[in-house]
Subunit: 234 residues, 4 copies
């Protein structure tokens, strides 16, 4: 729970931080063995296979309940449009910064020029991006967006300084404004989150967060991650 550990930066102002993890690869095996009256026995050796085979079979057969016996609690700072997608995962538990209770700090997500240059509307995937944008157009739009974010902040501040409530003043914020939350879920859910949010048709911004989540998960649950990552785009 040391704040200096387990923090992964995402873009200029965002991050994912491990608050706490519980359970382990071994506990998942032990939970699965509940059905057969057994417990975790050990991982295999060069000559003798071990409980990694059970873990693999559980995963392959989508026998996912043992993966509910472990989990992670994370702290996340991300733009509102990313938070919106994240919170569609309804079996996670969230505690988010309230823009009604306090003014949101002035940090907005401004896509890098590299991101905009490759952020053209995809032809094949109507939801996605990935085609090239001419340099001048990319620069021009990015400058416009930066100007808009500045003006949005000005209108937001004007509201608050005029005595208008924070809840109403926030109408001026764009969805690129950063928010912060704790997100807690069991491993079954985190793996479902990653399957969707690491996929090539996910938006690049949330994929970057998903990669950070995957890194934290892999450190704590290396054998589970070794299984789960197959078939995922990482």
């Amino acid at each position: 729970m040391d704040d200096s550990q387990g923090v992964t930066r995402v873009h200029e102002h965002g991050y994912v931080r491990l608050v706490e993890a519980w359970g382990s690869d071994e506990q998942i095996v032990a939970a699965a063995r509940m059905s057969t009256d057994g417990a975790f026995r050990g991982w295999g050796t060069d000559t003798e296979p071990g409980d990694e085979r059970l873990l693999a079979r559980l995963w392959r057969d989508r026998h996912t309940s043992p993966f509910e016996q472990a989990g992670m609690s994370l702290e996340v700072r991300a733009p509102l449009f990313v938070v919106r997608e994240w919170q569609r995962h309804r079996t996670q538990s969230f505690n988010e910064q309230s823009a009604r209770y306090g003014a949101l700090p002035y940090d907005d997500y401004l896509p890098s020029i590299e991101r905009v240059l490759l952020g053209g509307q995809s032809k094949g995937n109507r939801q996605g991006s990935g085609t090239a944008v001419p340099h001048a157009a990319a620069e021009a739009w990015r400058t416009e967006l930066a100007g808009l974010q500045e003006r949005a902040e000005a209108v937001y501040r004007l509201g608050i300084e005029s005595g208008i409530s924070r809840e109403l003043s926030r109408c001026a914020l764009t969805v690129s404004r950063y928010s912060r939350m704790r997100a807690s879920a069991n491993l079954r859910n985190w793996l479902a989150f990653l399957a969707l949010r690491l996929a090539p048709d996910a938006q690049e911004e949330i994929r970057d967060y998903a990669r950070a989540v995957a890194t934290l998960l892999a450190e704590r649950f290396p054998r589970t991650w070794a299984l789960a990552k197959e078939g995922m785009t990482t």
Copy 2:
């Protein structure tokens, strides 16, 4: 399912529309009677009490499972900041308009001058509003907000017309932009939604939507609503 029925307008561009309801006050009683091997018998008369007494006892004792045997599916058009609060209700099912798939129509929520005049930051309730704002300040801020929304639309359109993907161009949208969704839940959940979102400390905008939901619920489930509304601010 006639589109002309069950539509309640909310503010200038929003609405709540009943797509479908299932179950009934009588089915809730019948579900509760499952435990005692009985069924719905009838509502009382002037001289003889009936199943409204069972319904009241269930509600009072928070025996809420029978209220899961009925529900409503709604279509909602609301600003993003309202949708965000709405989707924190994790036992609802949502299908929402995708800003990645198609450009969001140019409709933003501009609070009425009456709303802004009474939308000053509350002193007692750090989250709320309700104190008076001087007329000049209210007018000035509202004009600024309208200008910002116009500029946001311009930057959004510029992005799309420059070939930048919709998913990236939407960084320019403010949280006052309208989205549209279907929200489906059982009655137990709708009543929990209303208890929170009709409350005086809820933001005025979502309270207006909650009132529209309450009206639809009251029409289809009048006896349940008669019980539930006590203790709620409506």
Copy 3:
């Protein structure tokens, strides 16, 4: 909601009855079209494909949220060991007969001789059955079980008649005793239920109930069922 309709008998004393269904194949398409700002347009003709293609794509890509906008509420009578498996589906809503509130009627599940003859312990699937049992052994065991059920009822009744509470007297009931419940879920969940409970490795008794559920689902949602049943064992 006519009791004479939609009742499917299962074994000697069990049944599945449709209480109510909501939504439709068309509403599922309409919910999916929410993302693209469209609505249900129509099913295809011989020469022109229609919305069945969208439905198929949703299903194939596991884009399951539109299937949450429809559902069924069922009444079920089944032995306790079947109810136990059923209630592991945690996103269903249940109202079950209470053995604390009233004595359970004297109906037990006695497997047919045909079931016992083919109910030998499976070798390949440690959970299952399916090998042959010698006729004499099958008859002998079935007779023993019938005698045990009779004695269990006698001990149960003795408790209740001696003034011992129903909640304590039920210690004498076997898991073959019948219970009754309402089970309500959206279509996404019913399809997940069927995928697990129609599968060859599910216990024969719950498969029989799952078949009854599938029949009701197919009547009301024929196009959805046509898609979903592929890959399921029915």
Copy 4:
């Protein structure tokens, strides 16, 4: 995770064992402070109040989401009728011993004579017990139940030894047979579990398990428990 620690015996053959807990009273406060951009500051002193006031306010106002950021995973051995009630808590995660995969060990719950003597059917509460049962009747029924359990085991074993599958042979088991499971939930859910299962109208047997859960919770989350236990019957 030492097996010798955190085990609480319940009745003759049952227990509750702490597998793991995560989060803490301090983490709950920190999650709540997320909304106000703060963190856990400290508990109060004699002269200066501290974060216990925030915790109390959260609890009183049913602002329960911070309590989802902590939890416990338990191993439980209990009779089937207790497991049935337990598993109605649908936001818990379960891994249970499978009677299809292996034969259940021969342990049944036989209520103590003291329990039966006070286990008469309640008059006021149709679900409960608590009135006196004559000594002779109590003894007689308990002897009958013990005999039935013995015979049930004999029929169960006869089935298995005759080659009849475990899944079918279990028809002979009574609901007093012991099962074993892991149950994992966040603190919000455990507190809801305790509110229902410690209550005077809960069955005595599950109350005994709830008391064991409460003890484990109190050790790890003493300040949360101090708040929550008010209004609960412990």
